[in-house]
């Protein structure tokens, strides 16, 4: 019955707290099942009552046996030994005592000697005295013990030492069977009456409780219906007076719970909305920080990294998970960078100022970094710092470019001043030549002319290179009859001073194809190759310009029998301002731009310029330019 009441009340409370619990399965159980439970309960109650009664009866019997045994043993052990043992013409005392006992549990009474041999025994039919050792020295006046007889009975035995005279000792042993739990025939009517009473009382009790609980049941059903309809309203019920207060309070509780749920739902909606807004704002800010070209780190107040963009992880060569939510000590291997970041890990005065530093990091691939730290102040309180924004800019390329620019300018200055220097020296020599030696004057004039040419060539090449570098040069492709073009270019080159002592050869196929190329630029490239070949040739050596044509390309070949180029230098010669360390090469005046420009021009035509050479045997420079068919094939 209590369980039923509990179901109803628990069902209510839980329903309001969670609101999502379904109440259908908490409906009142069927009466049939409850009636059956009542019968089972009354049977259990009857069984328990009877068992308790019988147990008490057994306990009482056992207590009685013990009292009786102790008093009888005490009495018998006080009698003279001669009275206890049987003698002629006198009835045995033990048998007499035994017969006078009307206790059905009495099993035996015996006098035994020290070796446990019976001197006198009186026993109930079917009972035997179990064999059991007696103590060698009597431990006390009276003792008892539990023994198991040969027929399986449990015996409570009382024993006592006896003075048998002549310094002999004997023992008195009294045994009772331990009472067992059982129902005797005369007890049956009493027990049956008791069971009937209990059996009748149980349903009566059930009906009474059920009558009392009915208002609660009705309230439960009504409240369940209200909850299932999901419309809270005042619970209006006809209930006994003692339940009115409870119901009023319960209705107030429902009202309170309803208001509380409304407030919580409202709060929940606001919370979800603001969370979505924050997530949206955060992802937008992160997208902006990811998009900027610098590496960005954000330290929180405790000095841990709360954000790092992809540029930073790439720059540092670490993964995103290695950095975010970690301390800089976990991933920053550069000591100087670590020290800089660490200054902003603490709430010190240093962390309140913006700061910029420059670092060179890395040994294999050195990088120049500019690192700026900006404290992030709280929007509401400018004295409160929320963290630090660290922006790292990799200026390695800019630095390299600036350095290269500086080197280029220095090279240009050097190359311009070298011919000027020679001219200056010879001019002064001419002025100071008071002997007016014609030979000296002619030599000086020739040298000065060569140096002017060298200077002009250098300036032309410089201008062309600058234009190519700045992307200002535009190729004006036109159909070029290659045979005529090469012939003209060769003619001009072979008329120069360099060619005078050389054997210049032109070897072109008469039916050489036409190509689409920028005439002026290609002329500069081929002229640079021819001039080079002539400059580094020995007197009497051969310089040739030839061509080869295939289906897809044309090859223009400039060959000489000059000093040649070592294998190590063959790639270096195309670098700007590269001058060979070879003293023989140094004897010719060069400025280190001709080959570099030639390669740039050929590459503008999507062609290649290659060299093969052996020192002291000569060199071969090959320009390969694709014909339209070849270009098309390359694209496909």
């Amino acid at each position: 019955m209590d369980r039923t009441r509990g179901d109803i009340i628990t069902g209510h409370c839980f329903g309001f707290a969670g609101k999502m619990i379904q109440f259908k399965h908490l409906k009142f159980r069927g009466n049939d099942r409850l009636g059956l439970a009542m019968i089972v309960a009354s049977l259990v109650a009857i069984s328990l009552t009877v068992a308790t009664l019988l147990w008490n009866q057994k306990q009482s019997q056992e207590k009685q046996i013990r009292a009786q045994g102790v008093s009888l043993t005490r009495m018998l052990s006080g009698l003279p030994y001669e009275q206890l043992v049987p003698s002629q013409g006198r009835q045995e005392l033990l048998s007499t005592i035994f017969q006078s006992q009307h206790d059905q549990n009495f099993a035996y009474a015996a006098i035994v000697d020290v070796d446990n041999n019976p001197i006198a025994v009186a026993s109930a039919p079917g009972s035997t005295m179990p064999l059991a050792d007696l103590p060698e020295k009597p431990g006390g006046w009276l003792s008892d013990r539990m023994l198991i007889a040969s027929n399986g009975d449990t015996i409570i035995e009382f024993y006592s030492p006896l003075d048998a005279g002549e310094d002999k000792l004997a023992y008195l042993r009294l045994g009772y069977r331990q009472p067992v739990v059982g129902v005797s025939l005369e007890q049956v009517p009493f027990l049956a009456t008791l069971g009937l009473i209990i059996f009748l009382l149980t349903p009566l009790f059930y009906l009474l409780v059920r009558k009392e609980v009915r208002p609660l049941r009705e309230a439960n059903e009504k409240i369940t219906a209200i909850i299932e309809s999901d419309q809270f309203k005042k619970i209006d019920l006809q209930v006994p007076a003692e339940l009115t207060g409870f119901l009023d309070r319960f209705t107030a509780f429902v009202e309170f719970a309803k208001q509380r749920i409304d407030v919580l739902e409202d709060d929940q909606t606001k919370l979800v909305t603001s969370k979505n807004l924050i997530t949206y704002s955060k992802s937008r800010i992160e997208a902006v920080l990811e998009a900027i070209p610098e590496s960005v780190l954000i330290l929180d107040q405790s000095g841990n990294i709360s954000f790092a963009n992809r540029n930073l992880t790439t720059l540092m060569g670490v993964s995103h998970d290695d950095v975010v939510n970690r301390s800089p000590a976990d991933w920053c291997v550069n000591q100087e960078l670590f020290e800089f970041i660490s200054r902003y890990s603490k709430q010190s005065s240093a962390s309140r100022l913006s700061e910029t530093t420059r670092l060179n990091v890395g040994s294999l691939k050195p990088k120049n970094l500019v690192i700026k730290a900006y404290p992030i102040f709280s929007a509401s309180d400018s004295s409160d710092i929320n963290g630090t924004l660290i922006v790292i800019r990799d200026i390695t390329k800019e630095s390299t470019s600036q350095r290269q620019q500086g080197e280029f300018v220095a090279h240009v200055a050097h190359e311009l001043k070298t011919p000027l220097n020679t001219m200056m020296l010879y001019t002064e020599a001419l002025i100071d030549d008071d002997q007016e030696d014609p030979k000296t004057r002619i030599e000086a004039a020739n040298i000065m002319r060569d140096e002017v040419e060298r200077l002009a060539g250098l300036i032309d090449n410089l201008l062309s290179i600058t234009k190519i570098e700045m992307g200002e040069i535009s190729i004006e492709r036109q159909r070029l009859r290659l045979h005529d073009f090469l012939e003209d270019t060769f003619e001009v080159a072979s008329r120069t001073e360099h060619a005078s002592e050389l054997n210049c050869e032109l070897d072109l196929a008469s039916n050489l194809t036409s190509i689409m190329a920028d005439k002026d630029l290609l002329r500069i490239a081929i002229n640079n190759l021819l001039t080079n070949a002539m400059k580094y040739s020995r007197p009497g050596g051969a310089v040739s310009l030839s061509s080869e044509e295939t289906e897809q390309s044309v090859r223009i070949i400039v060959r000489d029998e000059g000093i040649g180029i070592s294998a190590e230098e063959q790639e270096l010669i195309f670098e700007r301002f590269y001058r060979s360390d070879d003293a023989k090469a140094r004897k010719s005046a060069g400025h280190g731009l001709g080959l570099s420009l030639a390669r740039d021009i050929v590459q503008l035509h999507n062609g290649t310029l290659t060299v093969s050479s052996k020192p002291n045997e000569g060199s071969e420079f090959v320009i390969q330019i694709w014909k339209e068919t070849g270009l098309l094939k390359q694209v496909v």
């Binding site: 200055a413 000027l420 220097n421 020679t422 020296l425 002064e428 100071d432 060979s580 360390d581």
Partner: protein
């Protein structure tokens, strides 16, 4: 008679300078680069060294540094011919004593004047060189 060691990789420069300075009575030894200059210095002890900077095998800068390392107590002056006038191109020269930069294009007249001065009063020339 003073001995001058002239070092330059431009043969025309060597030729005209040799002609001019020999007329002034100097004994001239020439070398094409720093490495050759070092070899020549072992044979003939020059009173003056005039060298270019940009040369193959061994540059004028390296030549000066080697001489300074080998002969810290050297007395003879060194004239070094350079196209680059900015101080940043001379920052290596601080530890080298008695070194004078002369800018290209070289004025033979000025150089000859400086050498004549040096022959007359070595200390005065040294002071000027130090400037």
């Amino acid at each position: 008679m003073k001995t001058i060691l002239l070092v330059d990789d431009e043969p025309m420069v060597l030729r005209i300078m040799r002609q001019a300075l020999e007329k002034d009575g100097y004994q001239i030894t020439t070398a094409f680069d720093g490495a050759e200059a070092l070899e020549k210095m072992v044979v003939s002890q020059p009173d003056v060294l005039i060298t270019d900077i940009d040369m193959p095998r061994m540059t004028g800068k390296e030549l000066c540094l080697r001489i300074q390392a080998a002969m810290p107590d050297r007395c003879f002056p060194i004239f070094i011919m350079t196209s680059l006038t900015a101080l940043e191109h001379r920052d290596w020269s601080g530890e080298i004593t008695n070194l004078t930069f002369i800018e290209k294009p070289i004025s033979l007249r000025k150089l000859r004047g400086r050498l004549a001065e040096l022959a007359a009063s070595p200390s005065a020339a040294t002071v000027r060189a130090a400037e």
